[in-house]
Each structure stands twice: as C-alpha cells, then as structure tokens.
C-alpha cells in the first residue's frame, strides 16, 4: 500500500514537472510578479508612506538678510532636498520632467512684508504631499518673520506627536512576497484539475480502478504531490524575498519575531489551495473549463483579498468584502507574523477560517466528483 502511494505520488510529480508551462506558471510567474511589482511599489511606498524628501527649487529674488535666512532654513530642513534649476528651463518643464515637486520664490519686498512667499506645485502632485510641503514652508516663513528660532519647540507644549514603530504597514516585500506566493499557490488548482480531467479523458484513471487500489489512496496520490509543490513554492518565494529582493530594493524584509509561525500557516494555506483545486476538478467538465475556472477564481480571490491592492489601502467597503476571499485570511496571517509579531493564538482564528474553507472544498468535491 505504501509502495502504491509512493508510485502514485511519483507519477503525479513526474507528469507535473515535465510540463514546462506548468512549472513556469507555478514558480517563475510569482517570482516575476514579486520582482517587478516590488520594484514598482518601491517608488509609491517611498513617496506616500515613508516620507521621501520634498524636492524644491528655491528662488531667492530678494537676497535680503531675512530672505537669505528663510532660504537657508528651507535648504537645510531635513525633509527638503534642494534642486537647482537647469539653465533656461521654465517651471512647467521642470515639473514635466519630474525634476522637482515645487518651486518656492522669495520675492523682492518679502523683507518688508510687501510681497508673500510664492509656492508653485507640480499640478500632478499628491494632495497629501502638497499639504505637508505647504505646512512646512508656512512654518519656516513664520519662524523667520516672527524671529523664532524653532517653531516646533515653541508649540511643543501645545501639540506633540506620540511615536511608535509602524506595525500596520508592510514594506513592498512584506506585502508582495507572501501575496504572490499565496497567489501562485492557488494557481496549483490549474494543473491539479486539468490533470485529473485529462486522466479521466485519457482513460488512465479508469484503468487505475481495474487494479485493486484503494480509492482513498488514489485521492491521497492526487493531493499530496500538489501539497508538496505548494510548500516548495512558498519556500522559494521566501528565499527570493529574503536573499534576492531585499538586496535589490531599498526596503528590508523583516520576518518578525515569530517567523516559525510561517510553518503552520503554510501548512494550512496549502490545504486550502489543494481544496480549491479538487473543488474545481469536481465541478469542471472539460480541461478548458477547469483552467478557466481555476484561473478566474484565483484572480478574483486575489483582487478581493488584498493581494493585488494592499488591504490597508482599500476603502472600508472593500476591506469588508476582502473577508470573503481565503487569500485575505492567508495573507493577513503572514502579515500578522511579519508586522505584528503575532503569537500562535493570534493567528489561530485565521487558520481556523482557512481550515474550514479547505474542509468545505474537500467535502463538496468528495460528494460531487465522479471518478469514472
């Protein structure tokens, strides 16, 4: 019996691994997605979330002591990076070429309060970014005009910021590595269901049942290889994230204090993905139907589940809708480990939901599947 199971698994593995398209789909696709999307997100993350420096062109037309002081305060502020205007380049061209976010002009007459400081922003600049830059320039101008050395210290008793490490927002790698690992793991449903239907169509499955083979053994022989592939997919994606991508992009990939909790999460996620695979196999009537159904389902689950768009950036309604996707629970379980140093008790509810999803899939498939 053990030998039969061994041969069933070996057969399935050989068929799977000799199909180059499947190997590309399961291993290369997620690596490519992690690579390119992490690079693409790096800029967005830097701008919006971690406060990339505001790039300013400073034009001091006054050259008075007050104007020079203001120009110096702007220039030396840690949130600002001064950009020199290329010779002959007008404001619009500077923005069009993305050389600066804003142009600050200190006009003649500023020293006598006759003319105000002018701020000209790139028209496509993010609104939040614009507000932040505007507030900063206003504060610095008030300091110069009022003769205050540091406005922030003056108002420290009135307004203060409480700081703690950001444990909610993932870096691009923390977001994308588990996200696309999960995405690819769910894509196992394609070779799984197509393989099953092809065996039925070719008659090899029927032939299998002309031998004294236990049906449960055949089921195990169909599930275990894909389960193993799933685990390898996750390990590969993690290795890519930790050892390759973290050297390519500027964000680190912190795995959290309880990184070994990835083991139970991956075990449960693999059960959910193989459950989804058998469900598709049980419902599809042709191999074409199976591949379409499996891919469409996986993509929809990814769209809803915070894989393609980070869950934290979703509007409230979408955040609630995300909960219908098993990918959401899987992804959040990994983020719990990476960002929130979650204990096993913390991730357990998510694991239970994924286990229930897997159980329902296996139950429905078991009742519906026709082996012959």
């Amino acid at each position: 019996m053990i030998n039969q199971l061994k041969e069933l698994i070996k057969k399935e593995m050989l068929i799977l691994l000799r199909d180059k398209q499947t190997v590309l789909l399961l291993f290369l696709m997620p690596v490519a997605l992690i690579f390119f999307l992490s690079l693409a997100m790096e800029g967005v993350w830097a701008d919006k979330l971690t406060g990339r420096k505001i790039q300013l062109v400073i034009q001091n037309e006054s050259e008075s002591p007050k104007a020079n002081l203001l120009a110096e305060k702007i220039r030396t502020n840690k949130l600002i990076e001064e950009v020199q205007r290329p010779a002959g380049m007008n404001d619009d061209k500077i923005f069009a070429e993305g050389r600066a976010h804003a142009i600050i002009t200190i006009p003649k007459g500023f020293e006598d309060s006759e003319k105000p400081v002018e701020m000209y922003f790139d028209p496509v600049i993010d609104a939040g970014y614009k507000i932040a830059a505007r507030s900063l320039i206003i504060s610095l101008t008030v300091e110069v005009v009022m003769g205050i050395d540091n406005l922030e210290m003056v108002v420290a008793d009135l307004v203060t910021e409480k700081k703690k490490p950001n444990k909610e927002f993932p870096t691009p790698l923390q977001q994308n590595v588990p996200a696309y690992a999960i995405f690819a793991m769910f894509f196992i449903a394609i070779p799984m269901s197509v393989g099953f239907l092809k065996e039925k169509k070719d008659g090899t499955l029927q032939r299998l049942f002309t031998y004294p083979v236990n049906t449960n053994l055949v089921i195990l022989g169909k599930i275990v290889p894909y389960y193993i592939i799933n685990v390898f997919q996750f390990i590969l994606m993690m290795l890519v994230g930790v050892y390759v991508m973290s050297h390519i992009i500027s964000f680190s990939f912190n795995l959290g204090e309880h990184r070994w909790h990835m083991v139970p999460v991956t075990i449960v996620v693999a059960a959910a993905t193989t459950g989804y695979g058998v469900l598709v196999a049980a419902f599809a009537k042709t191999t074409e139907q199976a591949s379409t159904l499996a891919a469409t389902g996986a993509i929809l689950m990814a769209v809803f589940g915070g894989i393609m768009m980070p869950h934290i950036l979703m509007p409230l309604m979408m955040k609630k809708l995300a909960m219908i996707s098993p990918m959401y629970w899987a992804h959040q379980a990994y983020l719990d480990i990476f960002l929130r140093d979650a204990s096993f008790g913390d991730i357990l509810p998510r694991l239970i939901i994924l286990t229930v999803f897997a159980g329902i899939c296996f139950y429905i498939a078991g009742r519906r599947v026709k082996w012959i």
């Binding site: 030998n3 039969q4 061994k6 041969e7 070996k10 057969k11 050989l14 068929i15 000799r18 199909d19 070719d202 008659g203 090899t204 029927q206 032939r207 299998l208 049942f209 002309t210 031998y211 004294p212 083979v213 012959i372």
Partner: protein, 239 residues
C-alpha cells in the same frame, strides 16, 4: 472452471432512458479465446467495464475464476487493455509499466524483470526510455497491451486492441495473443474486425442493444461478417 461467468447483468447509465445491458449472461471457459462482437453501442465496453470493476450499480453477478465481484482481489486475475490508449503520455514506457505494476501490487524485482521481458515481447525495448507521447499509434497499442500483461493475469480482456494500427503492429499483436493463449491465458476479445475475430477466436458472443443474441462456436460460421449483419441488421447505428 470457467475463467469468467456473467449471470443476468442488467445496467442503465445515470439519466439514460434505455438499459445499456439487459439480463446479459455469458461464460468464458478457461483457456479459450472468445470474441465479443456487436455494433457500436451494443454494450460490449460497458460489459467489460463491469467485469473489470469500474462500474457499480448493476444487478446480476460476475465471477472471475470462481471469485465473485466486487471482491477486488479478483481483479488481479484480470488484465485489461481498454480501447482508448490509457497510458500516461508524458511518462516513458518503462515508467508506465512500473506504475501499473506497482498498482497491481508487484514487488520491485518483479516489476523490473517483467518490464524487461514485456518490452522485448512487444518490440519496444529500444524505446523503453522514450516518452509515450513520441510513440506511433502502433507502438502505443503494443504498450497498452503490455501494461495489461504486466501482472501475468490469467484472463485478458481486450477492447478493440488493434484499432488504428498498421498491419505490422496488428500482426505482432495477433502473434502475441496466440502465444499467450498457447501458454494458458484466457482471452475475451472485443473487436469490430471480423477477420481478426475469425482468425483468433474459437467461440463468439454476439451482443446487440444490450442483449446477447448469439453465443456459440466459431467453427460453425463460415463468413463472420455476413453472419454478423444477418443477426444485427444492416441499418446504421448512430449511438
């Protein structure tokens, strides 16, 4: 003892309005090559699937060398080569035989030895490590037969074993079947090739519309095709 006893088998597919098999009974004595003939949709393949344990939900009885189905241990006495080429095309011939040998419960050494012998017998030794997808139709048919023979069954069920193959492969298969029968193997051969049945078989069972309409020796039939058409009619069968 008969190799195969089928007694009053009745079967209807799910959602079908007519019975695929109606009260079918037949026996295949040990050591014989018996033809199972009938037009398309007569019920030959369904009968073979029932005998090989693939179908449930029938009434009646099937015994293989005295062991009643659904005792699945009886399946080890049967070798079955289905009409479709039921092999894993991305595996090699050796890998296919190894897999089916393991399913039949053979041990590692038995699989190795029998695979070698069978590949020689069906003329595929030089292609043992080639993927089945690269084989011609005739080579695939021969391997399909080899897979059925791997566990040395006493009763061989063949469902159109020479369909779509060239005369060389066909004759090779005929010679192999005659050798196996001479060595004591019982064979039930389902075919549409009358010449094949007449050449190989000593008795014939004719089924039509799910019923046995003739059962007797081949010796009394001079022109099997004419006999077949007389019994089943000349009207076209679309099912």
């Amino acid at each position: 003892m008969n190799a195969l006893d089928i007694s009053s088998i009745t079967f209807r597919y799910e959602e079908a309005s007519v019975f695929a098999l109606k009260n079918v009974s037949l026996s295949v004595p040990d050591g014989r090559i018996q033809a199972l003939l009938g037009p398309n949709g007569a019920g030959k393949s369904t009968l073979m699937r029932i005998v090989t344990g693939q179908m449930r939900g029938y009434t009646g009885e099937v015994s293989i060398f005295g062991t009643k189905m659904p005792d699945r241990s009886a399946l080890l006495s049967i070798g079955y080569a289905p009409q479709p080429i039921s092999l894993y095309t991305s595996l090699t011939a050796r890998e296919n035989l190894r897999f089916f040998g393991a399913m039949a419960g053979l041990k590692e050494e038995q699989i190795g030895l029998r695979t070698k012998n069978l590949l020689e017998r069906v003329g595929l030794s030089d292609h043992a490590e080639d993927q089945v997808a690269t084989y011609s139709g005739g080579m695939q048919r021969r391997l399909n037969l080899a897979a059925a023979l791997l566990h040395s069954p006493k009763l061989l069920l063949l469902d159109e074993p020479t369909v779509g193959v060239d005369p060389q492969s066909r004759n090779h298969i005929y010679d192999t079947l005659l050798e196996l029968n001479a060595a004591g193997m019982t064979i039930l051969l389902s075919t549409h090739i009358m010449e094949e049945a007449q050449r190989l078989c000593s008795s014939v069972t004719l089924v039509d519309k799910g019923e046995v309409i003739f059962n007797g020796p081949m010796s009394g039939i001079s022109d099997l095709e004419k006999f077949f058409l007389e019994k089943t009619g000349r009207g076209l069968r679309d099912d």
